[in-house]
């Protein structure tokens, strides 16, 4: 039966939702879908959302990403516009203070009274703060809302040492946040081990040693008795065993408690240890009142994960609309990465069921711990614990959830693959009832149905079933189910770069190099068909440049370049270009600064400092580019490659030459590195930075290649990124001398150039590299592929054949000819019009152009 079938009356059902966390919002989405389905008969329900927080729902699962640069907007799950479009009334900062069950109304803190036909409590939970004297001081905080994170950020700025109370899942995430903020970090746990709920003793031991190796100190079996004034730090924590720990701030993450205050106050049944009691339909003891998510107690159990909360939201929505769906518990298995340590927990991780038997594999040298728990007959998998490597998680979870019969020797599931390999459990072995995405409750059968209804790709499946758009943990499994389903349907799963070449970028690179192919025409003739396109042409141009490094405006190459490369500038929205000369390491003489100022003034260009310590001159018409560059080159500048997928800048702090704290000459190193790698064409742009000490003023850990000075040399960080998807760079090697540093960078970059996909930044490349950072270290440091000599040679060839493209371009009359706007006229483009703003030019808006052209009736831009 469909949800909409039951509501026939024209009268609206008023549904009031208290709380707009992830689960509350999911509930609203279910109702919106329902409203969309019955839209033709007019709206069946009216929804009103009351949120105690100042903003609408956001993603609490990925809250810690706030510290790696995600903003509140990026964490948001919805927008006021979306609610408005769907006629969802909402009130922020509107905590409910009164429920009148007889009159069926609620009252908000502002005194507003709202009538309901159905009331849904989705009030979530609050962090449990142990009743320790002194726990209410200024820098004693919790970790749950965006406001909490803001407070943590402020406290971290005035702290050196931080303690997290609680060694569970959230506690370790909070510890990671403190560590990233640069604090000396401690975790204090009451139990004898970390993550005692999800992980057994053996796993906990390994987890602890891994986390301590990352510089976080772990203290277990510590009961805090008092928080008093510290001697060396702000506070001193006194433990029951007489020991103590000094810290500047404390984060409590000792578990959650259901937010059931409203239920308590207005006589709705709660459990002995809290939580609003609900039945299988999420109904509370009070008529027409439901509870869902972390505030709800089902079968004496609180579900502190998002997936069961979503299921409750679906159940309650269906019940209100007259459908039939019930909540029968949920799987609490989890897989996560804590500070880079992989941890997985499935089902009965502690082997508590009667007759349960365990198999354990521990590999201390490699830091691996794997355990599976099976039933007495060794037929079914009951649970598992994985620490250090969760690659078996998906397979094990499917065994557990679907009751699939175990192989004859269950231990083979966790033992390292021998010569015969592991018994695989491919997508085909899963029953169609198997849950693939537990956040959105998508089964394999749902995915097959979506393909039947016309979906053609993983992307289609994601958008129509929402699979893998929750926590994302199932993405690998989803892909393998989709690939298998597609290939069954005769769809070949292609990695082809485009319709003109049946090869990936990596394969094309290989073909160019091995086949000594020097032009796109011969590449197309030998390996492709058609004319090429905006995808394969620039990709081929980049590969040819990486391998042979010829002048990119050579007649053979010119037609391949994207417009920025063709005109050696960055095209702006009005068709003009910006000009960025190279300022290696950000070091520039006053004389050169004056030249830039003179050029900006003469050609009336808008000038701005870039994020990469250079100066950008905007608003040059295509026909002005050669003469501007002629002036710049005569003054000693060279091209900055800002238009190219290649090395952009090597940012530097001022270093030991001037800075009181610097330990090495970061500017000198940055200039050397920039001069070495300038002009290297790559799958995407590359940015470097060099910091002169651990204060890291150059922000090297957000760059593709980051170098940080130490007392003994240089630490090398790789594959970081700022921008749209920030990623902290990984520490690759420490205390290198300059020669080794350069050698490693040569090898890493050339390996990236060879193997990355088109337009793949190093960060994504590393994430997708099988074996990840360790594999990259093996290739680069240990030479596991026997490649390093070839990689270095290739890089040396590129370095030796460097040319300033602008110098070559202006020296050739044929190249200069390309920069005319018109082949038959010296006029300029009349559509380029500027107006003044803050004493500089900016492109005129459409409206400004209209009025300007009407007034002046002038068809050229030679005004302003």
């Amino acid at each position: 039966m469909t949800m909409s079938a039951q509501i026939k009356s024209k009268q609206q059902t008023r549904i009031v939702v208290v709380g707009n966390g992830m689960v509350g919002h999911h509930f609203v989405e279910q109702l919106i879908q329902h409203n969309a389905n019955v839209a033709q008969d007019g709206q069946a329900i009216h929804i009103c959302v009351l949120s105690a927080e100042p903003r609408l729902a956001y993603d609490r699962v990925h809250l810690s990403e706030y510290f790696s640069g995600k903003t509140a907007e990026e964490l948001a799950l919805t927008t006021p516009q979306y609610y408005q479009q769907n006629q969802v009334e909402f009130k922020l900062d509107a905590a409910v203070v009164d429920i009148d069950k007889q009159a069926k109304t609620v009252t908000t803190v502002q005194g507003e009274v709202l009538a309901y036909d159905k009331l849904v409590l989705a009030t979530g939970s609050f962090p449990f703060v142990p009743p320790i004297p002194g726990n209410d001081q200024a820098h004693c905080l919790v970790y749950r809302t965006i406001e909490d994170l803001e407070a943590i950020n402020h406290a971290a700025q005035v702290s050196k040492v931080g303690v997290v109370v609680g060694g569970g899942l959230l506690g370790l995430e909070a510890a990671n946040a403190l560590k990233q903020a640069g604090l000396q970090t401690h975790v204090v746990e009451f139990a004898p081990q970390l993550m005692a709920v999800q992980v057994d003793e053996g796993g906990g031991r390994l987890l602890r040693s891994k986390i301590e190796a990352l510089g976080v100190q772990v203290h277990t079996q510590k009961a805090t008795q008092n928080i008093e004034k510290g001697d060396s730090c702000r506070y001193k924590m006194c433990f029951a065993d007489g020991s103590n720990l000094e810290t500047d701030m404390i984060l409590f993450s000792a578990g959650i408690r259901p937010q059931d205050a409203l239920a308590r106050q207005f006589d709705i049944a709660i459990g002995e240890r809290g939580g609003i009691k609900v039945d299988n339909y999420c109904q509370t003891s009070a008529q027409d009142i439901y509870a869902i998510g972390e505030c709800a107690l089902w079968n004496n159990f609180i579900f502190g994960l998002v997936a069961p909360g979503y299921t409750m939201a679906r159940v309650a929505a269906t019940h209100i609309l007259g459908g039939d769906l019930s909540f029968l518990g949920a799987d609490m298995s989890t897989k996560l990465k804590l500070m880079g340590v992989e941890v997985g927990s499935i089902g009965d991780a502690h082997a508590r069921q009667a007759g349960a038997l365990s198999y354990i594999y521990e590999n201390q040298p490699q830091g691996l711990y794997k355990k599976i728990v099976v039933d007495a007959t060794k037929q079914k998998l009951l649970g598992a614990v994985l620490v250090g490597d969760t690659s078996d998680y998906d397979t094990l979870l499917q065994y557990a959830l679907n009751g699939i019969d175990l192989p004859e020797f269950p231990e083979s599931l966790i033992l390292p693959a021998g010569s015969e390999g592991k018994p695989g459990l491919g997508a085909d072995a899963l029953p169609s009832t198997a849950t693939i995405c537990s956040c959105h409750n998508v089964s394999k059968g749902d995915i097959i149905a979506a393909f039947d209804n016309g979906a053609c790709s993983v992307g289609d499946i994601k958008s129509c079933t929402k699979a893998s758009s929750g926590c994302g943990g199932c993405s690998a499994l989803l892909k393998s189910v989709c690939d298998s389903e597609l290939s069954k349907r005769g769809v070949e799963v292609k990695k082809d770069i485009c319709e003109h070449f049946a090869y990936s970028r990596q394969e094309l690179f290989h073909l160019v190099k091995v086949g000594h192919i020097k032009t796109f025409d011969s590449l197309l003739e030998k390996h492709g068909h058609g004319l090429g396109c905006e995808i394969c042409k620039p990709a081929a141009a980049s590969i040819l440049a990486s391998v042979w490094n010829e002048f990119i405006l050579k007649p053979d190459h010119v037609s391949l370049q994207d417009t920025n490369d063709t005109y050696l500038g960055n095209m702006q929205k009005d068709g003009t270009y910006s000009i960025i000369p190279r300022i290696a390491g950000g070091e520039i003489t006053p004389d050169k600064l004056i030249v830039l100022g003179q050029v900006g003034k003469k050609y009336n260009l808008y000038t701005k400092i870039t994020g990469g310590q250079r100066i950008d001159l905007f608003g040059a018409r295509v026909d002005q580019l050669p003469e501007i560059w002629e002036i710049l080159i005569n003054a000693g500048f060279e091209t900055g490659h800002a238009y190219a997928k290649s090395l952009r800048t090597v940012k530097s702090c001022v270093g030991s030459t001037w800075c009181r704290f610097g330990v090495q000459d970061s500017v000198g190193q940055a200039i050397d590195l920039e001069n070495r790698y300038k002009g290297l064409r790559a799958p995407h742009k590359i940015k470097f930075a060099v910091s002169g000490c651990t204060r890291e003023c150059a922000e090297a850990q957000s760059k593709d290649i980051g170098v940080i000075a130490t007392e003994n040399g240089w630490n090398l960080y790789v594959c970081g990124n700022g921008g749209m998807k920030p990623r902290h760079a990984d520490l690759f090697a420490t205390d290198l001398d300059s020669a080794t540093l350069v050698k490693y960078i040569d090898r890493i970059l050339m390996f990236y150039v060879r193997t990355a996909d088109r337009l793949q930044r190093t960060s994504v490349w590393l994430e997708n590299l099988e074996g990840g950072l360790d594999y990259l270290k093996q290739v680069v440091i240990e030479d596991s592929l026997g490649l390093v000599e070839a990689l270095e040679k290739q890089m040396q060839l590129v370095v030796d054949s460097y040319q300033c493209e602008w110098r070559t371009a202006i020296e050739s009359q044929a190249s200069r000819k390309r920069f005319r706007q018109f082949v038959n006229s010296d006029k300029v483009d009349s559509n380029i019009v500027f107006v003044q703003e803050r004493q500089q030019i900016r492109p005129a808006t459409e409206a400004e152009k209209q009025s300007y052209l009407q007034q002046a009736d002038i068809k050229t831009s030679e005004v302003v």
Binding site: L531, P538, N831
Partner: protein, 115 residues
């Protein structure tokens, strides 16, 4: 095309660039000229230089591409593709740019355009 349309000389064939575009100004109209040269086979195309989506005179600076059998130029601003033969935008049904007949007469490039 109206009766008053005439063939006008625009430039020399040597002004064109193989597998790329240049721009000409004719009666205050900007026309993008493309020369496709594959294995000695030469084809010429002329379309309006105005990018109706990016709202700038830039189409001649786009990449020449093929989509199946259709020869197209991709706008350098936002990458929409336009058929060089018909002017139709392949990425937005409701959008097309003007197409001009083009020919070579005695090493001169000519297009047909309203007076």
């Amino acid at each position: 095309m109206t009766k008053t349309a005439n063939w006008m000389t625009v430039c020399q064939t040597s002004d064109l660039v193989d597998n790329s575009g240049v721009c000409a100004l004719i009666n205050e109209q900007q026309v993008a000229l493309f020369k496709l040269s594959v294995r000695e086979q030469v084809q010429l195309f002329a379309i309006s230089n105005w990018d109706p989506i990016g709202k700038a005179n830039v189409l001649y600076r786009g990449l020449l591409t093929s989509v199946g059998e259709t020869i197209t130029v991709a706008s350098p601003l936002y990458k929409q593709r336009y058929s060089l033969a018909t002017g139709q935008c392949l990425d937005a049904d409701e959008i097309a740019v003007r197409v001009y007949p083009i020919r070579i007469e005695q090493q001169l490039v000519q297009i047909q355009i309203d007076k």
